[in-house]
């Protein structure tokens, strides 16, 4: 595809926690993320979605396969070193737990501007403090936070600080690994609205990893569903939610409780998704842009 920002090609990753234990966290995952889109990745815990994000950020070296970012192979050490500055600057990560991903000994001002210092970029707004203030304002915090430490902030304020830190380098790609999972429902809505607003303003590409399907449905342009290290379905979000084809996606969608008591009471008991087939399958394009994992036997 011509305007793909990130391309995963047959990506696999296995953990070896013991001598004879192999955990296949990613199995032959291939898809691409287009420039400027919000891509949602959903799945249960342990399905490999965080591993994928970490491979993309070069935290893990995948066992096999390639990840192309703007044509640069991130798994190839030489290519990576060559483009190190560009890669570090353009990719940013937001973690789930803002309490542990912000240094408790630093003040907010330093946390937010540290990327500029590391990259040796002169602050465009004169001083680091002015720059930090500007970034904080764009995520809905005021200057009074600048001199606070993370423990003095609430969960949503901390998550806003991590977002400001990620935005200060004006990245092209933001990877957010369950950024709202540890927040309250009303605060989740605040942060998701902020993401939507920022994405419109900055136009960055956004990989949003979550297990809350209704948030993904609200925010994302395209959505991929993962299970057991495989990508089982990939489609534009509206298409995926109105016409889920893989049985696992169907089970996942039917499990979301809807805030309507009469509708919920009338609903039959949840039936667990069928076990995943042992055999490897391949993603098949069923309708345009709608891909489903199909086992070789049932085509």
């Amino acid at each position: 595809m011509p305007d793909a920002l990130v391309e995963f090609q047959h990506l696999s990753h296995a953990f070896r926690p013991g001598r004879h234990i192999v955990i296949k966290a990613l199995r032959d995952v291939s898809f691409s993320i287009q420039k400027g889109e919000i891509f949602g990745l959903v799945g249960e815990s342990g399905c490999g979605k965080s591993t994928l994000a970490r491979c993309l950020m070069n935290i893990y070296q995948p066992s096999s396969g390639r990840i192309l970012y703007k044509g640069v192979d991130l798994c190839d050490g030489k290519a990576r070193r060559q483009h190190r500055r560009m890669l570090q600057r353009e990719r940013q990560l937001i973690f789930q737990d803002s309490a542990s991903s912000l240094n408790p000994r630093m003040r907010v001002e330093r946390i937010v501007t540290e990327p500029l210092v590391i990259q040796r970029i002169a602050p465009p707004r004169g001083s680091l403090r002015a720059e930090a203030e500007h970034q904080l304002r764009s995520v809905g915090l005021d200057a009074s936070c600048l001199n606070k430490t993370p423990v003095e902030l609430s969960g949503s304020q901390r998550q806003r600080v991590s977002i400001a830190r990620a935005l200060i380098l004006e990245p092209e790609l933001i990877v957010a690994d369950e950024p709202i999972a540890s927040l309250d429902v009303s605060i989740q809505a605040q942060i998701v609205t902020l993401f939507k607003h920022l994405q419109l303003a900055h136009g960055f590409t956004f990989l949003f990893i979550a297990h809350d399907l209704s948030m993904v449905r609200y925010l994302c342009d395209r959505t991929g569903v993962m299970r057991g290290g495989r990508l089982v379905e990939l489609a534009p979000t509206r298409e995926l939610f109105s016409n889920p084809l893989h049985p696992y996606t169907q089970a996942l969608l039917s499990a979301i409780p809807f805030p309507d008591p009469l509708r919920e009471r009338a609903r039959p008991a949840f039936s667990a998704p069928p076990p995943e087939p042992a055999r490897e399958g391949a993603l098949v394009e069923v309708t345009p842009d709608h891909f489903v994992l199909q086992s070789p036997s049932c085509t």
Binding site: I187, I256, P259, D260
Partner: protein, 338 residues
Amino acid sequence: MPDLLEVNRLSVRFDTPEGRILAVRDVSFSLAEGEVLAIVGESGCGKSVLCKAIARLLPKSAHVEAESILLDGVNLAGRSEREMCRLRGKLFSMVFQDPLTALDPTLPIGRQIAEAVTVHNRRLPRRAVERRVLELMDLVGMEQPQEKARMYPHQFSGGMRQRSAMAIALAASPRLLFADEPTTALDVTIQAQILDLLRDVQRKLHTSTVLVSHDLGVVARVADRVAVMYAGRIVETGTAEEVFYDPRHPYTWGLMRALPALAIEEGRPLSPIPGMPPTLLAPPRGDPFACRNEYALAIDYEQEPPLMRVSDTHWAATWLLDPRAPRISPPLGGIPHA
């Protein structure tokens, strides 16, 4: 139906070095037999503290005051710890959010369930205890109970652990079950299974349930009645239909409008509640929700509104229900329900 639980004017305060925290303020509610009451609210609104205050599971720094807490005719207020010990499990029990920390990692699941069975019936012969354990495991939907009884918590998935915790809670056939965010730590598919189980068990045993949750979807699935809490007070209470289809409190409106599922359905952008919940250390004067409330009236900054009647079962603490209040068009609700 007679009321199983009747709580009258319960307050909980914590004295900390920073000052006095009023975690629960003057809460009264009742629960009929076989009913599921859901307590909804943001974290820190006092919903967990409320349950733990009734079960007397709070640390010593908490000061609980209540006119009366009547559970099945027994007044729990002012009981000694010894007496409470005898009542816990038998009269009421609790399921917690994180099943891994609620279970003992060093004992097999079967032993842990057996412990809960024997504590209330010391003279039960071993065979009967074993039979009861298998019966309980079957009740909470654990397949192959014989095998599973010998396994340890770390060998189970999150869903299985929560099922084990429920088996322990149900061991002495309590009349009332407190479920404190029982599905928050679980995946959606597991959550759906546990909620179905909760509903199923509740129908079979006629146990009344107090469900604490911040997820209105979860609440819609299991609750008969709903109480919305904010800053330590119940601000709206009613049947599930009343609260979901005809909410009257601006905070309930806010909670509903912050739900992505409803926003998509209605094709409108998400409207989050602005600001944060107040700290209970220095609560503002008047209604603590006033500063986040777009419908706040001048009196909201002066005086906290009392619970006002909408119907016999539906009450809301907002000045908007006062006959002198200006008429506003509510952002949602007013849907007649069957």
